[in-house]
């Protein structure tokens, strides 16, 4: 198994006394060293849960995971807590959406970088400090020495996200997980962070899984895109293929609904209805109730992904001609 990430039929459920939420319902993918996969989907589709599953960060008492989940050769589902803890932050690291709440408000940026380095590499405080300085340089935070002594609330939104990235990179991870890291930022800052991530990814040869709800963001950073709906990948393929020749009606709807240049004066296509209740999923294609091409056959069984692994493929039995995309 040479893939950096190897996922087969992953399911994640949240079980509580009164209900079970089926957040992820059979996800398959591989990720190679140095590859960038974007998981694209609307809120509640299971993107964050999938990402957190890769580090086993979903709440341990409520979460039930099944399937195969290998990261860097380590089986994540069966690993002991100790093994998981030594993977987290070292070979796999994560960047979150809201750097303000994702950083501890009463510790300085420097402390929060140093503790990761010390935790995993057991170096001295002085060495950890030196590393922290290098890291701020790497993520292009000027006057590093001063910024290390700053608390999160003393930095602007963009700098905070850079600091968050510095923490994630502190032990040179092989896999970087990014959960909507630019969603809370202005477009002018978003593009800076995207370009930074792209450069770092290339320089450090990391595999990246990047979660976003924004097709434009995916277009800037992805090698491959996986479109997620109701806990499944409904379409996946190379970024160009998915953006230009969307196969799945949901992806096509999403493309039609995303406002971009040249749409002025045209009516936006919309997707009727709303996403299914994850506590009570329909038997067939989860998109069927909202799909313009749906018929009785769609409701019988969950459509499989057509095509070979790694090819451009979609979970739809009536793939419409790519009319509007």
């Amino acid at each position: 198994m040479s893939n950096l990430v190897h996922v087969r039929d992953l399911t994640v459920k949240f079980v509580s006394r009164d209900r079970t939420v089926h957040a992820v319902n059979g996800v398959d993918f591989d990720l190679d060293q140095g590859e960038v996969l974007c998981i694209l989907g609307e809120s509640g589709s299971g993107k964050s849960v999938t990402l957190r599953a890769l580090m086993r960060l979903n709440p341990p008492t409520r979460t039930v995971m099944t399937g195969t989940l290998n990261v860097g050769g380590q089986d994540i589902i069966t690993a002991s807590d100790r093994e998981i803890e030594s993977i987290r932050g070292r070979s796999v690291a994560m960047v979150f959406q809201e750097p303000m709440t994702a950083l501890d408000p009463v510790f300085t940026i420097g402390q929060q970088i140093r503790e990761t380095v010390i935790r995993h590499e057991g170096v001295s405080k002085a060495d950890a400090h030196k590393r922290a300085l290098e890291l701020l340089d790497l993520v292009q935070i000027p006057s590093a020495e001063r910024r290390l002594a700053a608390y999160p609330h003393e930095l602007s939104g963009g700098l905070r996200q850079r600091a968050m990235i510095a923490i994630a990179l502190s032990c040179r991870p092989k896999l970087l997980l990014a959960d909507e890291p630019t969603t809370a930022l202005d477009a002018t800052v978003q593009i800076q962070i995207l370009l930074l991530l792209r450069r770092l990814q290339r320089e450090l040869g990391m595999g990246v899984i990047f979660v976003t709800h924004d097709l434009g963001v995916a277009g800037e950073i992805a090698d491959r895109i996986a479109v997620m709906y109701a806990g499944r990948f409904v379409e996946e393929g190379a970024v160009r293929e998915v953006m230009r020749h969307a196969k799945h009606p949901y992806t096509q709807g999403l493309l039609g609904a995303t406002v971009h240049e040249g749409m002025r004066g045209k009516r936006l296509t919309t997707i009727i209805g709303s996403p299914p209740n994850l506590a009570n999923l329909p038997t067939g294609c989860a998109f069927a109730p909202r799909c313009p091409s749906a018929d009785a056959a769609c409701l019988e069984a969950v459509p499989g992904l057509d095509g070979a692994f790694g090819a451009h493929r979609a979970r739809c039995i009536h793939q419409p001609a790519e009319a509007m995309a």
Binding site: A187, L194, L195, L215, E220, M243, G256, I271
Partner: protein, 329 residues
């Protein structure tokens, strides 16, 4: 009282809303936040004026100043030819004609009122009878695409974000206003829901003969919905003009940078350099001269010395930059 639509007064040529030298400075001397600092513009009858700019540039403050939710430090607002405030159009009458929709669809609704009570509240206060109010609420719900039988008696938490935003729009329409100020109305919504709400706004505008002031940080959305666009930077107008002209020929370096910050939507021609570095500045310490000069790619010595005037690029397009030039007609 029947709450009939308000007749037009000054004719089509008279702007519906005129904002003159509006300023709002927060805080005391020492650390003054110049949130809005001398902003002037007009909203014409039947048009949508879009306002874009980075967070903190004063978009929301501008809208709250227009609504009279906060008192301006300076400047005035003129509605259909009449000064708003003492001696002119009363604030109550103005508020009937101008309504607002906010980004946070949940916080804008009273959680203890049903949808129908929320929408019917203002008409009742304005003296509409119970029956007439109910009829209007049902019409409004239908107009914003919510089945009245299904939604009238629900509470806000029983609705999705997109449905709540429709309710907010219905409520804004309840007094038959002429202008609606929309402050980031779709920013919290998913893309597919955003599209639904944008379509709805386009329909309602035609149906009710509305004008919009549409605030957003999303340049694509603003381009889609606006007739004219105002670009704001640090409490000031950087550029204003017809949407096609402004997007095709941006004259202010800031507008160009904003436009270039949008994702390319083309994996083969990705962005390679960020158009701007650093974060949006804070309006506490406003730079001298042109406020944009510390981040401007084309900065010249004079930019930090003096503040550029608004330059008329053509009849309808202006920019506040020394490099902006009038295009001969």
């Amino acid at each position: 009282m029947t709450l009939a639509p308000i007749p037009d007064r000054g004719g089509p040529a008279q702007p519906l809303l005129l904002v003159k030298d509006l300023s709002k400075h927060f805080g005391k001397s020492g650390s003054v936040v110049r949130a809005v600092d001398g902003v002037s513009f007009a909203i014409r009858k039947g048009e949508t004026l879009g306002i874009v700019g980075e967070s903190g540039c004063g978009k929301s403050t501008t809208s709250r100043l227009i609504m009279g939710l906060i008192d301006p430090t300076a400047g005035e607002v003129i509605f259909d030819g009449e000064h708003v405030g003492p001696g002119g159009l009363s604030v109550a009458e103005f508020r009937r004609q101008v309504q607002m929709v906010f980004q946070d669809s949940y916080a804008s609704l009273n959680p203890r009122l049903t949808i129908s009570e929320s929408i019917g509240f203002a008409p009742r206060v304005h003296g509409l009878s119970r029956e007439a109010t109910n009829a209007r609420v049902r019409d409004l719900l239908a107009a914003v695409g919510l089945e009245p039988d299904q939604f009238a008696q629900r509470y806000p938490h029983e609705l999705s974000g997109g449905q709540r935003q429709r309710v907010n729009i219905a409520r804004a329409l309840a007094l038959r206003p002429r202008l609606i100020i929309l402050d980031e109305p779709v920013s919290a919504l998913d893309k597919s829901v955003e599209a639904q709400v944008l379509n709805l706004l386009v329909d309602l505008k035609a149906e009710f003969g509305l004008s919009y002031l549409f605030i957003s940080h999303d340049l694509n959305v603003v381009q889609y919905i606006s007739d004219r666009v105002l670009v704001m930077y640090l409490g000031r107008v950087a550029e204003i003009g017809p949407v096609d002209d402004l997007y095709a020929h941006p004259s202010h370096p800031y507008t160009r940078a904003l436009l270039a910050s949008r994702p390319s939507m083309d994996p083969d021609h990705r962005r390679t350099t960020p158009p701007l570095t650093g974060d949006p500045p804070n309006p506490v310490n406003v730079p001298s001269g042109c406020r944009f000069h510390p981040r401007c790619a084309q900065v010249m010595p004079k930019c930090s010395a003096a503040e550029p005037e608004m330059v008329k690029i053509n009849a309808d397009h202006q920019a506040a930059c020394f490099l902006a030039e009038t295009v001969p007609a």
